[in-house]
């Protein structure tokens, strides 16, 4: 266990660095030291001299901090559920985006929003629930289509995922184009992968993501045993059907909450678990938590890049992850073909 403390420490340090940069960097640079003092000033019983302009308060607490936290949650969610889907389907290419779950969640979210635009926090809480239904329905449909006998071939799963995902995306676009006003605005985040702003989405996504990710972290040993196939897993004493159902629900819930407020961001759930696997091994008891921390860090950095490449214009973060992720996907595909190692 001692050998494992190091990656957790390294990853946490990297995450802290990414969080700091994400709050500090933007149209106005706010030095990390000042951000720290501004945060400390929020603590009760601590009176610090206010040596920053009032506008900084607005920038940090109303804009950057909620944005940073939403990106952190999204990266953690997509990467954690990506690791779980890969283990669940024993498929190196499974990713919430590539198996269509993200698009299914997007359709669910937009259906709910076009039915009734969420103008309060309670309304916002219903969006991930609708996205969750869309995500779960998609994953069930995709695995049903892709199944051939008792096997679930790697490429068929991705093909079915892409097809079902495209169908869901098309329906989503249709729904949005025939709607008006605020719903149309949803188009921006959903197609490009840009986050909603303010604290409300953070609060609405948080409980879903925490529940989903906790379940996935606890399932580490079960995911390990599942790597030997359903039959051996059951003979080793794992209640396979129950465990798989639980995993699908938890991963879909996590994905759905992330998609609801950050749109469809591809490949992050593919890249991060792979790097973690290469660097620190395939044991899911560590792979899942390290993917969660690493996913948050990676998406924060991608988001930072998206904000500064064309400044003052912002790119949707999904563009950055796709630019990095698509070549990565092809690399894994070649590797997986060359030998069964992944």
């Amino acid at each position: 266990m001692d050998a494992l403390r190091k990656p957790y420490l390294q990853n946490t340090l990297l995450l802290t660095l990414a969080l700091t940069l994400s709050v500090a960097i933007g149209a106005v640079f706010i030095p990390p030291g000042m951000v720290a003092r501004m945060l400390a000033a929020q603590l009760p019983g601590l009176s610090l001299p206010v040596d920053w302009p009032e506008t900084f308060d607005v920038i940090v607490f109303r804009i950057r901090l909620p944005h940073t936290i939403l990106i952190t949650l999204t990266g953690a969610a997509l990467s954690g559920s990506g690791a779980a889907y890969q283990g669940l389907f024993r498929n190196p290419l499974a990713d919430p985006y590539l198996i269509g779950v993200a698009s299914g969640a997007g359709l669910g979210a937009v259906l709910a929003m076009s039915f009734h635009w969420p103008n309060d926090l309670l309304g916002l809480f219903t969006v991930p629930a609708a996205a969750f239904i869309g995500a779960t329905a998609t994953v069930i449909l995709v695995t049903m289509i892709a199944r051939s006998g008792r096997a679930l071939p790697t490429t068929t799963l991705i093909l079915a995922g892409v097809a079902v995902g495209s169908f869901a995306s098309a329906l989503t676009s249709y729904l949005m184009l025939r709607s008006e006003g605020e719903v149309r605005r949803a188009l921006a985040w959903l197609l490009g992968g840009a986050t909603m702003s303010g604290w409300d989405p953070v609060i609405a996504a948080l409980p879903y993501i925490l529940i989903g990710l906790s379940a996935l972290i606890l399932a580490g040993h079960s995911l390990n045993v599942l790597q030997f196939g359903d039959e051996q897993a059951q003979q080793l004493g794992l209640p396979v059907e129950r465990v798989k159902t639980l995993l699908i629900l938890a991963a879909s819930l996590t994905t759905a909450a992330a998609v609801s407020f950050s749109g469809i961001i591809g490949f992050i759930g593919l890249i991060v678990p792979h790097l973690v696997r290469i660097l620190w091994g395939p044991d899911y008891r560590n792979l899942v938590p390290l993917s969660i921390i690493g996913g948050a860090t990676t998406l924060l950095l991608a988001d930072l890049l998206a904000r500064i490449v064309l400044a003052p214009q912002e790119l949707p973060v999904g563009v950055i992850t796709a630019l990095a992720g698509a070549p990565f996907f092809l690399w894994i595909l070649r590797r997986a073909k060359a030998r069964s190692f992944w």
């Binding site: 040993h221 794992l238 209640p239």
Partner: protein, 265 residues
């Protein structure tokens, strides 16, 4: 120890096993033999509970196995599968430790007792030196021993094995079966083993169950079951059965149908 009562199982509408009954006692190896497609693997799968049964029951120490949850089942009954398609992920140690799954808490954290049992299983199967190696990079014989170690770590009184020697050469076949025989004698295990090679069956099994087209054709000691008339009929080739020079167990010699004479001409 293990009682199989009128077991029937099917794939879709095709009945692959019908009305099979047998029992295996502690300290005994019951070998399953029969031509390809006779239902040996089906029987192993049905008994282990991964293939739903159509009719009949499997009882272990008096309990109906189908009524037990997966965890309980795995404490009574461990399976040594054929070594193929092992995940390209785990070390030998991690793989064998997974045999402890039915004893772990819901977090899957292994304790001292789990590590001791794993260590013992590795020592017993001569795989301790491989502990740090990746399981998918081992030879077939080594993989088969690792899977045996995993089943031993599971600490179940009954072991089911599906053709454990199928990809092994003569030396490894013999070593593995010697090891299994030793373990059965030492720990009073009950073993149900599908095995192709009739000569190995005759040498290592206490009793033999002969399956033909999903039905039990004969059951008894190797000398009772492996008779020339019965085997010739079932395997559809002429053959001789002679007596092993040291043990008196049957040795099955397929008749070359005069190939040698044809060559001589």
């Amino acid at each position: 120890m293990l009682e199989i009562q009128s077991l029937s199982a099917s794939y879709g509408s095709k009945l692959a096993l019908s009305d099979f009954s047998a029992s295996v006692n502690a300290g005994e190896i019951l070998a399953l033999v029969g031509p390809n497609g006779a239902g040996k693997t089906t029987l192993i799968r049905a008994v282990s509970g991964v293939l739903p049964v159509r009719a009949g029951r499997v009882r272990v120490a008096g309990k109906d196995l189908s009524q037990l949850p997966a965890v309980q089942k795995a404490r009574f009954l461990a399976v040594v599968p054929q070594a193929r398609n092992l995940p390209p992920a785990f070390t030998v140690w991690q793989t064998v430790l997974m045999g402890r799954t039915p004893y772990l808490g819901w977090l899957g954290q292994a304790g001292e007792a789990d590590r001791e049992r794993t260590q013992w299983a590795l020592e017993r199967t001569h795989t301790l030196t491989l502990a740090g190696r990746r399981v998918d990079e081992l030879s077939g014989g080594e993989q088969q021993r690792v899977l045996l170690a995993r089943a031993l770590a599971q600490d179940a009184p009954i072991l089911l094995m599906d053709e454990p020697t199928v990809h092994l050469d003569l030396q490894h076949q013999s070593n593995l079966l010697n090891l299994i025989r030793e373990l059965v004698n030492e720990h009073d295990l009950a073993v149900l083993m599908a095995l192709h090679d009739l000569n190995l069956v005759a040498l290592y099994a206490d009793r033999v169950a002969l399956l033909v087209e999903g039905r039990l054709r004969a059951i008894g000691t190797p000398n009772e079951v492996l008779t020339p008339a019965r085997l010739s009929e079932i395997y559809r080739i002429p053959l001789h059965v002679i007596s092993h020079p040291d043990y008196g167990t049957p040795l099955i010699l397929p008749d070359g149908m005069g190939v040698r004479e044809k060559q001589a001409n």
